[in-house]
Symmetry: C2
Subunit: 209 residues, 2 copies
């Protein structure tokens, strides 16, 4: 059984919990508090030198970090992971977009504004910069979704899960989605998928262990 090291309020961790729930994969959940330094202990760094969650133990002693890589691993062989060459490339396209254009802006704004509420990072990076670049990313997503139901392969895939995590909670950090009707319709389509769990809900199939 997989063990997932995860922080409940992290969007990157939510991606993995959402995919596990959608696929009905039993797993053991270990809550890790980033804000208490629990990813910087020698024990955690021995499992993941990057000191980040999510982290999936795929086999005893073998650990896979990086939310989007974990998505591909657990979804392998299911409809969530498109294997056609161009479909796969386009799903990856949006997942790399998510990691460099969406998450660093929406995710950073959420983390520093709603969770840490201050600190050094807020001095180094202007909030206006996150907002401007975050809205640019949302604009590109809106344009793509105006003509499509999902991001790639014409169906719900790991790309949708990756992009959903920080987009659905964007209003929490001050991003207004009023001007993005296609994104709002897509958020509703994702939330209507079988096995969907909310970010703050417990995965239906997680074991207590």
């Amino acid at each position: 059984m997989y063990t997932l090291y995860s922080m409940q309020r992290s969007g990157n961790c939510y991606k993995v919990r959402l995919a596990l729930a959608h696929l009905g994969i039993p797993h053991r959940l270990v809550e890790v508090d980033i804000l208490k330094g629990e990813t910087r202990t020698p024990e955690f760094l021995a499992m993941n030198p990057s000191g980040r969650v999510p982290l999936l133990e795929v086999a005893p002693g073998r650990y896979l970090p990086e939310s989007n890589a974990i998505l591909w691993y657990i979804a392998g062989g299911t409809p969530l992971a498109p294997e056609d060459r161009i479909d796969r490339a386009e799903a990856l396209q949006w997942m790399f977009f998510e990691q460099h254009s969406l998450e660093p802006n929406l995710g950073a704004a959420r983390f520093w504004l709603t969770m840490v509420r201050g600190g050094r990072e807020l001095q180094h990076h202007a909030i206006e910069d996150w907002m401007e670049k975050g809205y640019q990313a949302l604009g590109i997503m809106e344009q793509h979704l105006a003509e499509r139901d999902f991001f790639s392969a014409g169906r719900y895939t790991v790309a949708d899960i990756a992009l959903y995590a920080y987009t659905h909670c964007a209003p929490e950090s001050g991003f207004a989605l009023d001007a993005f009707p296609a994104i709002r319709a897509w958020l509703a389509r994702v939330a209507a998928q079988a096995g969907h769990v909310p970010m703050d809900g417990l995965p239906a199939v997680a074991t207590a262990d």
Copy 2:
């Protein structure tokens, strides 16, 4: 035949040129100058709303952006693209790491310090921040390579190509690699691969068109 929209001095574009050269795939190369705004024209934005290079025309009128997604597309079915489930996930792990921990620091430092030499971005982001986070990323790579020849699957893959692009030219933007012997040995191993081309060299198989 593929058409690659690329800027010679861009590390992200170099990844794609390197993979095409290694695989001996003929292609048409269109040089695009980011600094002259050539990715912000209506014509270019119609091909890629993100306004970025590299961009690969995979079929007439069908465009694939995102360097690391392009790598998976062109390498599909070759040894460069590991298809085993855990090997693929670990290659992806390092490619997502590259896009959020390496490229935003080494790539940004290179772009703003050696190419633009100033501007708004240098006010918003402290150079010390790029250096600190860039060295952290290099430290994680060094630790991984201390026990391995390549990043995943025990061989040269798209993950190595992705990480090589900005690492091999890190000294240009002030990153010293003296303290990273495993990285330096890996850089030499990558440069020794068949079909390797330097960043400033012309791809051996590109057509003049």
